[in-house]
């Protein structure tokens, strides 16, 4: 058997988490070095995997061991281009989150080990090809995130953490029902084998509904989104980054990996409904974001809007739409990560997130202001930056699909509304003369710039050369569509 | 006179009786444990005896005896460790000194 690279990528952070926890708060300095090292090594392993990845090779680096043979549960990991993009995002953002929270003073051992534990769950979700394993990782993610919010969060952290936990748990319970139903019908827990099983459409409809609840809460799709702003506002910066950057993608990943290939007939039936919810999410999220007075809440609602484009692309079920969906997932992870980092960095200095109290960043702190403006333009979908790629492809795909034109046009209006809330933010926060809270603050440190630079680079690379991302995702998308067609 | 099963059983019964008496009458924990060993060895003697005279072709009883001896060796080790631990706390190995588990 080959070197179990995926297992190492998934579980190395677990080892790191254990070491950091054992080192304890007394040796927190060593602990954070260990945490950073582990995360960097993990990222390097992902990069190494990517370098050996065969873009046309379908599922690769397969590891399959029997786990509970009596009911056919296997330890089954594998990776394709779509998973790779998500794992890369998760590994990168974990490294950046650790570096960005380098100076954490409250219970640092627990903090860093929770971040690493979170990475285990995130990496695992994207490479698990067995439903039970998938579900384990899916739920595993909740635990560290709960503690990250509940321990290091803002004033209402308990409320937000519990809401986050219960809401997503509520969704995943339905998912579990769906998994069990599928198992009873097909006799396997293997996600890949189930694809194209040709299940009865009526049965598919119900299972799709169950999965929909589980995934839609995570994405989140209007009207199941209200846990998101609360969680984001209360969560510490690094947790917000990972929450928006990776956790939301688990939901849309679920649609792409599970709902579409396994339940193609139901997906086709649901597509208009999903497109409608997507369009509403886009416009509604954008409008609500426009009215926010808290920077973090604005970015949180912008996530609702952007994830709407993911759902629109998924609902289109065209190569362009699905590629667009994955591209938005990736780009949103990068760009929103950047935005949350920046809002956090500004908050560290000004001790306020109120838009009304912060202005003139570009005059006082040109680096921070410039990067915030850059991230904003990436977020509003300026061509040449990554945000455009996915939104554009989603729209193109949606137009070419059976989705009613009205929803596509409504979604396109969302692009305009995104420009409105993002520019209005730039207008008030970045431009103008420095406000009282801003005057006298220091610009970004080298460490903070180092956190943001990789994201800036990715935004530009993906935005200018789409294939840097799409060459990984397109074969995966094609195989998803082939599975749907084969059913 | 050949030694038969009755001889063995008698010896074992005597040994067991001595052990039981010792275990019940002694206050010193070490003595009690020695007595317990006597009783255990009486049982071992029985096992060997039955094996030799009742089922001579099967070795089951003999193996059992060896197994039992190994277990009691471990048991004594553990017991003595406990006694030492008690001694450290109480400076005594009198069993009556240890009554913490009184209900």
């Amino acid at each position: 058997m080959d070197f179990p690279l995926l297992t190492v990528i998934v579980f190395l952070p677990l080892l790191g988490a254990a070491v950091v926890a054992l080192l304890g708060n007394a040796r927190a300095v060593a602990g954070r070095v260990v945490a950073a090292t582990v995360a960097v090594v993990d990222l390097a392993l992902v990069a190494w995997l990517a370098s050996r990845f065969d873009v046309d090779g379908g599922m690769q680096f397969v590891e399959k061991l029997t786990w509970v043979p009596q009911v056919g549960i296997t330890y089954h990991l594998a990776i394709d281009g779509m998973s790779l993009a998500m794992v890369a995002l998760s590994a990168l953002l974990t490294v950046l989150a650790i570096v960005a929270s380098w100076k954490t003073e409250k219970n640092p051992a627990l903090w860093f080990s929770m971040l690493l534990l979170l990475e285990v769950g995130m990496n695992g979700v994207f490479v698990a090809m067995d439903f039970v394993l998938f579900y384990v990782f899916w739920e595993l993610v909740l635990v560290p995130m709960y503690f990250l919010i509940a321990t290091w969060g803002g004033p209402r952290r308990q409320y937000a953490a519990v809401k986050f936990f219960l809401y997503t748990l509520f969704g995943s319970v339905f998912m579990l029902v769906g998994i069990i139903a599928l198992y009873l019908q097909t006799g396997t827990f293997n996600i890949l084998e189930m694809a194209g099983a040709g299940l009865d459409p009526k049965f598919q409809w119900w299972v799709f509904a169950a999965f929909f609840l589980g995934f839609a809460v995570k994405v989140p799709v209007f009207p199941l989104h209200t846990w998101l702003p609360d969680a984001h506002v209360e969560a510490p910066t690094a947790a917000s980054v990972l929450l928006a950057g990776v956790l939301l993608k688990m939901g849309s990943y679920g649609f792409l990996r599970i709902s579409l290939p396994i339940l193609p007939d139901a997906a086709a039936e649901w597509s208009t409904f999903i497109a409608a919810l997507a369009a509403i999410s886009i416009v509604y999220g954008a409008a609500v974001a426009f009215a926010q007075t808290d920077m973090k809440k604005l970015v949180a609602y912008s996530s609702v809007s952007h994830m709407g484009f993911v759902m629109l692309g998924i609902a289109s079920m065209t190569p362009e739409g699905l590629n667009g969906a994955v591209a938005v997932m990736f780009s949103h992870g990068v760009v929103t990560g950047m935005l949350f980092f920046l809002v956090g960095m500004v908050y560290d200095r000004t001790h306020t997130r109120m838009i009304a109290e912060v202005s003139g960043l570009s005059s006082q702190v040109p680096v921070a202001g410039g990067l915030l403006a850059f991230a904003s333009f990436a977020s509003l979908g300026l061509p040449g930056l990554s945000g455009f790629v996915g939104e554009f492809l989603s729209l193109v795909g949606a137009w070419a699909s059976d989705i009613p034109v009205g929803w596509v046009v409504l979604s396109a209006i969302g692009v305009l509304l995104a420009a409105a809330y993002m520019l209005w933010l730039v207008q008030r926060v970045v431009l103008g003369s420095p406000s009282a809270a801003v005057s006298g603050i220091a610009d970004l440190s080298a460490r903070e710039v180092a956190v943001l630079l990789p994201l800036v680079a990715l935004t530009l690379i993906v935005g200018l050369y789409w294939d840097s991302l799409l060459r990984f995702t397109d074969p995966a998308v094609r195989s998803i569509l082939a599975m749907m067609g084969g059913a | 006179m050949t030694v038969g099963l009755p001889h063995v059983l008698t010896l074992a019964a005597l040994l067991f009786g001595i052990g039981l008496y010792g275990a019940l009458s002694r206050k010193n924990a070490v003595h009690v444990m020695m007595s317990l060993e006597l009783m255990a060895n009486a049982v071992n003697l029985n096992l060997v005896g039955f094996s030799r005279f009742v089922t001579p072709e099967a070795m089951t009883g003999q193996f059992f005896a060896v197994f039992s001896m190994v277990v009691s060796a471990a048991e004594i080790g553990l017991g003595l460790a406990l006694v030492i631990a008690i001694y450290r706390r109480k400076r005594s190995v009198e069993l009556d000194a240890v009554q913490e588990l009184k209900g």
């Binding site: 009207p223 426009f290 596509v408 431009l431 799409l470 060459r471 | 275990a23 069993l95 209900g103």
Partner: protein
């Protein structure tokens, strides 16, 4: 020929070098940006010569595939052909003039480095736009230009007005860009590609062609500030004047026209789209011209004039002559940027943008006034200045197409144009001097103006050559139309002179305003577009957004919290039930057990010896019992 790539790449590199630097380092590297655009200018002229003598077809083409999706590939490419060659020279000439001019105009700004960086990025995007061989690349460059326009309008962002103007400009053009995005989606769905060759040779049905054409027209209306999406351009004058000259007069606003020219076969396949284009142009040309008559801010006059002239280009397009539109685009780029640069000198000298406080500048600013005269006569359409030739071509096309109503409106617009040009000229240059201490501009500002003035004066003689180069015909003006348009222009100028030029005192038009209060009110309020948009669109959206935010917090989240609260009270009730009854039973059982335990615990002496005795006794009893039972 791959050096053509360098034309947009040089200014782009200048941006890449300048943008990440500190303010001071950027300022030092300003010459780099100027050198880059001069390099592009040189290469553009070389490219022009390489295409010469023109006619048909591509001379050079290069592309790169940026994405593979399914079995389709998305490519971005550049192509050099006559039209892009002409546009290259226009953009680089005006761009170079503006950059040299800005050395003088902006030298006191401490953020001059940032200004040059954005100007370079803009130039790069505009050059990429004209060279692009596909709609996607054109759109990407189009959007980047929008960004640069936003950044430059808001250059003095510490002040309120530029800040608001910049966001207004970006969002208004973005409204149009929605049309572009959707048009691209339709194009991709229909033709499966974005490149001009495939898309334009696609077999368009009239319906789809109309859809695509109208969506693109909408985009062009946003970018080229046509009614009713024109509102951003006058406000955009809050930016630095040279930037206005380049972006909001010569190049970016013309990109809308350029887009329609590129997509012209689709417009022709539609038919109805051309008619709509024509009327958009007519309405814009006339209404914007009327507005230019009542503005007091010199830059706003020029801004409305730009809108009006862009309207003329749309008229040409609507009448079916993309060549005439392109011709007017070229001439307008030169003379309007010239006028803006002149306005910059005037503003520097007079320290105000209000024409009512100017006057008599002709004597103090001789070079500027001469150069400005060249531009003004071109704008008014006086032979032999460039605007005459191209405007005449547009009018000739209208006559040729038997569009007599359109011809009349266009002629009226030309008359209005001449009037407001005269108004501007006489107010600024010949009216009584109201200020002392007026100074001519710096040499770095005058040289570019002279260059542009000379081009404006002579370029009209090359119309037919230009036509040949493009592979179309641009005839010399027919005597009849030339006479009619000259009469209109002279009439406008005469009227302007009559109102503003003939007196020696400062003109006061209060009486005129009082005589036509309603008409003046409509014009002064800019046909109420800004008020309507501000109230209904911006105000409406803001109110809606706030309402939705409240809805989200109260209703959507309220439901969630309500469920949670209901569940909590249910569980509280359950707690009571649980505590009293369910747990009561459990506790009852427990206390019974405890009572029994209390009794039994006395057995638990804790003494090892008593346990031993107990065990031994029990064993004895057991043995006895077995013996008795067994017997």
């Amino acid at each position: 020929m791959d050096w053509v790539t360098l034309i947009p790449l040089l200014p782009a590199l200048a941006f890449v070098v300048l943008a990440p630097l500190s303010r001071a380092a950027r300022a030092k590297l300003v010459p780099l940006a100027v050198a880059a655009v001069l390099g592009s200018l040189g290469l553009s002229i070389a490219a022009f010569l390489a295409v010469w003598p023109g006619g048909h077809g591509e001379v050079w083409q290069a592309s790169v595939t940026i994405a593979h999706i399914g079995d389709r590939a998305i490519t971005l490419g550049l192509a050099l052909e006559p039209m892009s060659a002409i546009m290259l020279t226009v953009v680089t000439v005006v761009g170079a003039c503006v950059q040299v001019y800005s050395l003088g105009y902006m030298h006191r700004e401490d953020r001059i480095g940032w200004y040059y960086a954005v100007l370079s990025l803009f130039t790069a995007a505009m050059l990429a736009l004209v060279l692009s061989d596909n709609f996607l690349g054109l759109f990407m460059a189009w959007e980047v230009m929008g960004l640069c326009s936003y950044l430059l309008i808001g250059f003095w962002h510490e002040q309120e007005a530029p800040r608001l103007a910049s966001i207004k400009a970006f969002l208004t053009t973005k409204v149009g860009d929605l049309g572009f995005m959707l048009a691209l989606a339709v194009v991709y769905a229909e033709a499966g590609a974005f490149d001009f060759a495939t898309v334009l040779h696609h077999d368009w049905t009239a319906g789809t062609a109309t859809l695509v054409a109208l969506l693109m027209l909408f985009a062009a209306m946003g970018k080229s500030a046509q009614f009713p999406l024109h509102v951003w351009l006058p406000d955009a004058m809050a930016g630095p004047t040279p930037a206005s000259a380049l972006i909001h007069a010569a190049t970016m606003v013309a990109a809308g026209v350029f887009l329609v020219v590129r997509a012209f076969p689709i417009f022709e396949a539609s038919g109805i789209a051309l008619t709509i284009t024509l009327w958009v142009g007519l309405i814009t040309a006339l209404l914007a011209g009327l507005l230019a008559m009542v503005q007091h801010d010199i830059k706003k006059v020029l801004a409305y004039s730009t809108i009006s002239q862009l309207g003329f280009m749309f008229i040409a397009l609507g009448a079916g002559s993309s060549t005439a539109a392109l011709y007017h685009l070229v001439t307008h780029a030169y003379f309007k940027s010239l006028l803006f640069l002149g306005a910059g000198v005037i503003i520097h000298a007079a320290h105000t943008q209000d024409m009512r406080q100017m006057g008599g500048l002709a004597k103090k600013l001789p070079v500027t006034s001469l150069a400005f005269a060249s531009g003004s006569l071109a704008l008014a359409g006086i032979v032999p200045f460039s605007g005459f030739w191209s405007k005449d071509e547009i009018l000739a096309v209208l006559l040729h197409e038997h569009q007599y109503v359109a011809f009349a409106i266009a002629l009226l617009a030309a008359f209005v144009t001449a009037f407001y040009v005269a108004r501007l000229w006489f107010r600024v240059f010949t009216a009584p001097t109201q200020q002392e201490d007026l100074h001519e501009g710096h040499r770095s500002m005058l040289v570019p103006m002279v260059v542009l003035a000379v081009i404006t004066a002579v370029i009209g003689f090359f119309g037919p050559t230009l036509g040949d180069f493009l592979g179309h015909e641009i005839p010399w003006p027919a005597l009849g139309t030339a006479a009619i348009s000259t009469v209109a222009a002279l009439g406008g100028i005469t009227l302007g002179w009559y109102v503003y030029g003939r007196r020696t005192s400062v003109v006061n038009t209060q009486a005129l305003k009082q005589r036509f209060p309603h008409a003046y009110g409509v014009l002064a309020n800019k046909y109420y577009f800004d008020l309507t948009y501000g109230y209904f669109v911006v105000g409406g959206y803001t109110t809606l957004a706030r309402a939705l935010a409240t809805f989200d917090a109260r209703v959507v989240d309220g439901v969630v919290n309500g469920v949670a609260a209901a569940w909590r009270s249910l569980s509280a009730a359950g707690w009571t039930f649980d505590g009293r009854i369910v747990d009561g039973a459990v506790n009852g059982a427990a206390s019974a057990v405890r009572a029994a335990g209390d009794k039994v615990r006395t057995l638990q002496t804790g003494s090892v010896r008593s346990y031993q005795t107990l065990i031994a006794g029990a064993v004895v009893l057991l043995v006895v019992w077995i013996l008795v039972k067994g017997a």
